[in-house]
Amino acid sequence: MIQMPALDFESSLSLLKRHGVRFPDYGVAKSPAEAARMAKKLGYPLALKLISKDILHKTDVGGVKLNIADEKQLSKAYSEIASAVPKSKLDGILIQKMAPQGVELLVGGKMDVQFGPVIAFGLGGIFVEIFKDVSLRVCPIDKNDAREMIREIKGYPILAGARNTKPVDEAALVELLVNVSKLMMGNKITELDLNPVMAYSNGYYAVDARILVP
């Protein structure tokens, strides 16, 4: 298999933010004391995530702790993540405001050999691998394409407000897709995952990001 280097987490996030992708507020802590300071500023509940260039699937090594409610839990979570990997592989720990639960979506990108940058949209989180419910387009896309992509997936009724739930903010998702398309067109990216993206009746949050570069 060809090894593709992943862009480090902070660079990924800053690249995405420059393209208007919204994330819950965050900071990167290098020590427990720094983590505590950031937590105070951000406010609880928080999510803690391992940052390491060498580890692609951070959940698999116990590198993700969610719903941290107070300082005590924070210090416990911090030391657990820090001890999960050798010190040399630990680049820091992401202290991120917990995004409220929304409809979990996936927005992604890929460099296709024949057609160049491609963008994907679908149900995210744990549903990705089970339902494989995604729509694809060759970039660049405009707002109409984005709207079509959103409405094309089988799970669309979930977004449109099934069973008395409020519909998600389609306009915000359209903007997100158009922005990711621009990002794919303007940068050399092999693969990109925003998963999950939490969609709300008002706005969205990209919770996790992974970018692979050539």
């Binding site: 298999m1 060809i2 593709m4 692609l56 996936l106 992604g108 990108g109 890929k110 296709d112 050999v113 024949q114 057609f115 160049g116 491609v118 994907a120 679908g122 990705v128 691998e129 494989k132 995604v134 729509s135 694809l136 387009r137 060759v138 109409n144 394409d145 092999t190 693969e191 990109l192 995952d193 998963n195 992974r210 692979l212």
Partner: protein, 457 residues
Amino acid sequence: MRNLDPIFEPKSIAVIGASHEPGKIGHVITKNFIDGGFMGRVYPINPNASEILGLKAYPTVGDVPDKIDSAVVAVHAELVPSVLQQCGEKGISGVVVISGGFSEVGNYKLEQQLVDVAKKYNINVIGPNCLGVLNPAARNDSIFLPMYKMGRPKVGDISFISQSGAVGGCIIDLAARAGIGMGKFVSYGNASVVDEADLLDYLANDDKTRVIVAYIEGVKRGRAFMDAAKKVTAEKPVIVLKAGRGKAAQEAAKSHTGALAGSHEVYSAAFKQCHIIEADGLEDLFNFSKILDYPICSGDRIGIITNGGGTGVLAVDEVEKNGLQLAKFSESTREQLRKLLPNYANATNPLDIVGDADSNRYEQAIDIVTKDPNVDFLVIIVLFQTVGIDSRVVNVIVKAREKGQKPIAVISTGGEYTEFHRRIMDSYGVPTYGSPEDALRSVAKFVGYCKAKKPVK
């Protein structure tokens, strides 16, 4: 855009590698030009013969005293670059290279030599490693398969491009048997010079082509293909069968998106963005192309006339399944139908004109229903097994097709007698189907294309 007229409509053609021996490809091609009634001049090229199949032969194209528009090359791969150079020196701008033995067997160097010569002399090369070109209207036939083994379709306006020679041969043979008229056919093989994007561009501007059908294993230039396809589909429908649903790329992927956006899925997305109609199999190519030969459809409301209740119900199921609407007949239509039908029949859609219907009743029912403003498309079910039905119903339907008030499709399920009548209708441009499934799926593609062609609100 490449000018491919010399390839499709040459006035004079050289067969390089023409041969005396019946087993040789160069023999079959020369013979096909003669037997097929090619109206231009044919020059067999062979350094070891002075005459082939009654035609004067020349050692090289350079020895021919007249102007030559196009050449078909069927010589050993190693000889192709030098032969191509001779074509260039002679001023031939369109060459079909039948010969195999290039990149498809790993001989990239030889193919590059071919490309270099083509560039130097500005030659549009089809192939190498291809089946040839067919243009029934010009009686131009460089397909190297003998006529007694593979039928040739009548003149029509559906054009086919095929990356594979084998699939291309099947397409021609099936089209000939089904009575489907063909505009132009080209098997483009390795596409080393002229590729699918070039062919789409050319056929887009070809006023003798109304529908384009393509068999593709992989495109050479994805973006150029999309640009060309977008332009064409605004004018005429393009149907594509994409083969090779490779999984290798997906296995190598590291992200979710990488795994989900496999090569075939990306092709499908690209097709959708260009309003290309994707076919699921070879049969689809014919099912879809013959209905897309209609110029336009006003909407998705389907009227159904049948002489068999059950088949009518099956058709209604398929209307729903394919996202179409069952038309609601107007009051005036119902009034007229009540007068026409026996009192035990219902004047509703699907209109069952019952088992004793004959061609007269069909004629009147078709006339009434086509005039209904609530009907966009008419599906006529004719079960030929019944006592009242004979060949006369074919005339009725063909006449209705020629009047052209509403697009029509026919469903006739059955054996040889049925198939015989279907073929007649198909050859008069009435799309016929052997089942409600095939018919309504095809109608849906047609309706969908017409909708996409209209400006998006």
